[in-house]
Point group: C2
Chain length 269, copies 2
């Protein structure tokens, strides 16, 4: 049994490319259709209702490509739209929250977990609730980091200013003696060096992009939806964006580590 | 002769409220309908084509309220969409670029003007071209300041980090010995204290919000479109946004200096 339909992945912009990178690594034979809503990015500061509406529209877009699985590779969208999306659509849909939660709960030793994300993600308290569901004794400390996304998008990954901003956001968490931190936004893996520097070696960084790729693999194996091995090739990756593709292709390289071909603009949103 | 129809003002989000404030001051009897495209904010990093599309949609929205004049209170939208909008619509439309250009050309003594704005505004070179049209001998030095909008939106108006970011953006302009700087984004007037501190007393800050209000007044007088004086009252200001209104109302206070009533969400975009 095999299934050559693509995996659909969407994000508010290009942050979800961190998930694409991990899916390529975990599932090298799969075709991927990515949608980045670059005309309406970012989702982080926007309301729950608006993020849900955008997410539903993005799923409808991906369904046109007959995807066999959808990954919501945006923590903000996952935190507010995943359960509603699952209720309404038949296609299996996974988000980046629960894989990160599973991993954080698995690795913490002192039962003190930090969570960082956008304003809407942190306000939703989705991480906190899901961690508590799994292990009510774990203490969760959250912090919104609204300037991290703009800093990544201007390419200031390791500047003095980025370090200072990170210090302001992260030192209060460090003082809570967390031993694990969930990077609750797909942009944040690009700030790993700075985050590690501030939190020190004793804190494990949980990168949900990596975890969601593992969960996708499990689902495809369990539901017998893996692609045939012959499926590899140039056309395996297709990128759609709602704004012009040039900037996306250029910055996307920073996330994926290779040149992006097949980036096209769609005007459906 | 008088005309009680409202003035329409739009912006990508809430930055345009700096123009609203000045229009209220200059034209206290006018009704105002404001649209903030908060579901798709910001426009600054987005492409010319997308910003034009959004701007046309926003104008069509304002026209439903039978506005007698439209102010594009967003420098990014003004820089790429104003001329196209004027070609297509009968309603008088003004942007925030030319009022800022007029004022900068008027006040500069040493003929060295700085312009700061978003990436799309600076890339469009609209300011530079318009200044050169008026006075070819003036030297124009431009700088994109992509972190200024996020800094204003998180409320870091006068922090150490904001000062450092401003230093990185502005010191290269200062070294060019400019005596005038155009704040080419409606968010920037909130950073005036920091910008003044870095550039020093010798540099005049040109705030296009104030200038556009003056231009609006001139047009209304010339075309005999001023509102009757009796028109003052509660319902004079109406705010529409594409995302949830609560955050807009809360942050809007920072721009206007008073509580915003009549903020409603519209789902047309």
């Amino acid at each position: 049994m095999s299934d050559s339909r693509p995996i659909g992945i969407f994000d508010s912009g290009m942050g979800g490319l961190t998930a694409v990178k991990e899916v390529i690594r975990a599932l090298p034979y799969e075709r991927i259709v990515y949608f980045g809503d670059t005309a309406r990015v970012p989702y982080g500061p926007k309301s729950r209702e608006t993020v849900i509406r955008f997410s539903i529209e993005n799923i409808l877009f991906l369904l046109k490509y007959k995807v066999k699985l959808i990954i919501i590779a945006c923590n903000t969208a996952s935190s507010v739209a995943l359960s509603i999306a699952r209720k309404n659509f038949k296609v299996p849909i996974i988000g980046v929250i629960s894989p990160g939660v599973d991993e954080a709960v698995r690795v913490t030793k002192n039962k003190r977990i930090g969570v960082i994300g956008t304003r809407t993600t942190i306000n939703s308290q989705t991480y906190e609730k899901m961690i508590k569901q799994q292990s009510p004794k774990i203490k969760v400390y959250s912090a919104e980091c609204p300037l991290f996304v703009p800093l990544v998008e201007v390419g200031w990954l390791n500047t003095q200013i980025t370090k200072q901003v990170a210090g302001l956001y992260l030192l209060p968490l460090k003082s809570k003696k967390i031993d694990t931190i969930v990077l609750g936004c797909t942009h944040y893996p690009l700030l790993k060096p700075v985050i590690k520097e501030i939190l020190g070696q004793g804190v494990t960084l949980v990168d949900s992009a990596r975890q969601v790729a593992m969960q996708a693999k499990e689902i495809l194996i369990r539901q017998r939806l893996l692609a045939p091995k012959k499926n590899r090739g140039e056309g395996n990756l297709r990128f759609y964006v709602s704004d012009e593709p040039d900037n996306f292709a250029e910055l996307g390289k920073r996330f994926l580590g290779f040149d992006l071909k097949n980036v096209r603009k769609v005007s459906n949103v």
